[in-house]
């Protein structure tokens, strides 16, 4: 086991796959010699050369479109969108072309590609460089969606995303880049579509992804220490495919569900989870299903405003405590 940062895990996961498969190539703005604006691809250009690690112009449609054309003709491209907000610039390529082509051609075309992107808030970049867009991708049939929270999961899920025969949107959270964690030695691959129970508990279930996972864990510890509430925390890790069984299994045990979402309120991924549990886990429930989200606003830039807009540890603790109290 080696301890590396989330940032280093991105390059490590890509390198692991580029070493074993020559069809894996990487393109994007500044991903080559510069090593990426967040240094997420550092060392790859030196290791694999300019044929496999290619810089592009600021042309998101061309980047994503080129990845699609390469994927349909025998490569396994990884395309980086520097900020996930830039998906909006290339959304035709993602939502109309990549997501739908296998279906429209009745399986003639396969698109084994990964769209990597720096997602999420915490760096005070304002409303156009801080969004959490997992739910945009989740709403389009034909896209798989990954949002890891730990360095080990970054490596394992990156490998899985690259090996997957379908298009994967891979969200790397900007606020987690400096976080450290143990990564298994040797080749590390995780399956897509399996959540992780990162903390066991019996009084309620808290479901989170990416940067909300460490907050949910910290909140669970606060709930245990200050209020005697035992919270189970689930890191979904992938939103599509969605590990419904783990969520339902946990709710069966705890009877209470909370989601912690960085996205703005309406149609966040948690709304889908709540809908599924209301439908399929209703008779396990002892209390209302509660979503803890960012309000339905664009994200503000000032540190104090951004911090207050996102679900904080304190807001999670207070919401869970109050709603459990009410349900008694």
């Amino acid at each position: 086991m080696a301890e590396i940062t989330y940032r280093q895990a991105v390059a490590a996961g890509i390198a692991q796959e580029m070493e074993r498969d020559e069809t894996v190539v990487l393109i994007g703005e500044d991903v080559g010699a510069a090593g990426g604006v967040f240094k997420l691809t550092e060392g790859l250009f030196e290791k694999f050369g300019p044929e496999r690690v290619r810089d592009t112009p600021i042309s998101e449609q061309a980047i994503v479109g080129a990845a699609m054309g390469a994927a349909m003709t025998g490569l396994r491209p990884i395309a980086e969108l520097m900020f996930s907000d830039f998906f909006a610039v290339a959304w035709d390529m993602v939502a109309n072309q990549i997501a739908k082509t296998r279906y429209m051609t009745d399986g003639q075309v396969s698109l084994p590609l990964v769209l990597r992107t720096a997602n999420g808030a915490g760096l005070r970049f304002g409303a156009q460089h801080s969004q959490s867009v997992e739910n945009w991708a989740m709403a389009i049939p034909g896209l798989k969606v990954v949002a890891p929270s730990t360095p080990a999961d970054v490596v394992g899920l990156m490998a899985a995303a690259i090996r997957d025969p379908d298009p994967v949107v891979f969200c790397e959270h900007k606020a987690l880049l400096a976080n450290k964690g143990e990564v298994p030695d040797g080749e590390h691959v995780l399956p897509l579509g399996q959540a992780a129970i990162v903390r066991e508990g019996s009084d309620c279930t808290i479901v989170a992804v990416a940067a909300m996972v460490p907050r949910a864990v910290e909140a669970a510890e606060g709930l245990a220490g200050r209020h005697g509430i035992s919270a189970e925390v689930i890191d979904l890790r992938t939103l599509v495919p969605l590990d419904v069984a783990t969520i339902l299994g946990s709710v069966e045990k705890t009877s209470r569900l909370f989601t912690v979402e960085e996205n703005p309120r309406l149609c966040g991924w948690g709304a889908e989870i709540v809908s599924i549990v209301a439908d399929e886990g209703f008779y396990s429930l002892d209390a209302p299903l509660v979503r803890i989200t960012t309000p339905h606003v664009p994200l503000p830039s000032a540190a104090v405003l951004e911090d207050a807009a996102l679900p904080t540890v304190e807001r999670i603790v207070e919401t869970v405590r109050r709603r459990l109290e009410e349900a008694k």
């Binding site: 190539v25 044929e51 290619r54 592009t56 112009p57 042309s59 449609q61 061309a62 980047i63 994503v64 479109g65 080129a66 990845a67 699609m68 054309g69 390469a70 994927a71 349909m72 003709t73 025998g74 490569l75 491209p77 035709d92 390529m93 109309n96 072309q97 082509t101 296998r102 279906y103 429209m104 051609t105 009745d106 399986g107 003639q108 075309v109 396969s110 084994p112 049939p141 034909g142 025969p165 379908d166 897509l192 579509g193 399996q194 959540a195 992938t238 599509v240 495919p241 969605l242 590990d243 419904v244 069984a245 783990t246």
Partner: protein, 340 residues
């Protein structure tokens, strides 16, 4: 300023078989689409269709210059390009009819005709999208050192969308083996292209912005198209990078099935119909010694082939609703649930 490439002075050097092939391709496209239009009005073809009647020489000239494994990318006006690459006519009709024996099982329809077996990599219905995608296929060929090229056909209206410019720039920077072919049929949907474009030649006048030679060719002259295609494809295969070709042509009908094209002056339509690429090429072939009987045989065989294709398509069943939830993923299914 763009210059129109003259047809080579020595057309007689072309292989007679190749010339007959180009004639046959154009006749097959014309007959297929003319009949598709009739079947639309009979209610057999549903949804929409965008016909390339009048523009067949572009598809035929390029296809005859391509290697079997070169890639074609086309627009929603893509029937000609699919047929020119060898897509089977029966399944193509069946796709237009929405039948289970369609090329894509009835899931794509007229605007998304794809036949990967013949390296027809798709018809793209969002204007401009397929230029970056074709660039990606060309980059893949370059990386794999396969010697393949990608040929990407699009309309004049596409030259005003961002993806056109992004793809041109990146293709040149990457020296990608891709040929961008603008079929300038004079109208972006219902509006004359000149009314909405800053330059006279929508594609060629943009070429210099990307360091490319401005190439304009008579898109109604199949041999002129073929000659330009040979040069551009050779250049791409030799690693010298992309080309941008503007083929000037005209669609005889409206933009789509519902459009009678009344916004165009009658004299203009008549003048272009007099320059119909198919009778013109037939006359040239006859002049240069082709037997009328051989050309007649192509016409007759085409009529029989189109009829047989229609019969084959009509005989196909409607798709089963069971296919609705197939082929979202490579495992053949559509499940969004994890498999713990």
């Amino acid at each position: 300023m763009a210059t129109t490439r003259p047809r080579p002075e020595t057309p007689a050097e072309l292989d007679p078989e190749l010339r007959l092939r180009m004639y046959r391709t154009m006749v097959e496209c014309r007959r297929f689409e003319t009949r598709a239009q009739e079947l639309f009005f009979e209610g057999l073809v549903r949804g929409t269709t965008h016909l390339g009647v009048g523009q067949e020489a572009v598809a035929a000239g390029f296809a005859a210059a391509m290697r079997d494994d070169d890639y074609t990318f086309a627009t929603y006006r893509g029937h000609n390009h699919a047929l020119a690459r060898g897509a089977p006519m029966g399944p193509l009709y069946a796709e237009l009819f929405g039948r289970a024996n369609g090329l894509m099982g009835g899931k794509g329809g007229s605007m998304h005709i794809t036949d990967v077996d013949h390296h027809m990599m798709g018809s793209y219905a969002i204007v401009g999208a397929h230029l970056p995608i074709a660039l990606g296929a060309a980059w893949s060929a370059q990386y794999r050192k396969s010697g393949q090229v990608a040929v990407c056909f699009f309309g004049d209206g596409t030259t005003n969308i961002g993806a056109f410019h992004e793809a041109l720039n990146m293709a040149v920077v990457w020296k990608a083996p891709v040929i961008f072919v603008c079929e300038n049929n004079q109208y972006m949907e219902y509006t004359p292209i000149g009314a909405v474009t800053a330059v006279a030649r929508p594609a060629a006048d943009r070429a210099s912005a990307y360091g490319l030679e401005p190439i304009v060719v008579d898109g109604n002259d199949v041999e002129a198209v073929h000659a330009v295609a040979l040069v551009a494809i050779e250049r791409a295969r030799a690693g010298e990078g992309p080309s941008l070709v503007e083929a000037v042509t005209y669609r005889h009908g409206g933009h789509s099935r519902a459009d009678p094209g009344k916004y165009r002056p009658d004299e203009e339509v008549e003048a272009w119909k007099k320059r119909d690429p198919i009778p013109a090429y037939r006359a040239r072939l006859a002049e240069s010694g082709a037997e009328a009987a051989a050309l007649d045989r192509i016409d007759e065989a085409t009529a029989a082939k189109v009829q047989a294709a229609e019969d084959e398509a009509r005989a196909g069943p409607e798709p089963s609703p069971q296919v609705i939830e197939t082929q979202v993923w490579a495992d053949g299914g559509s499940s969004w649930r994890g498999t713990r």
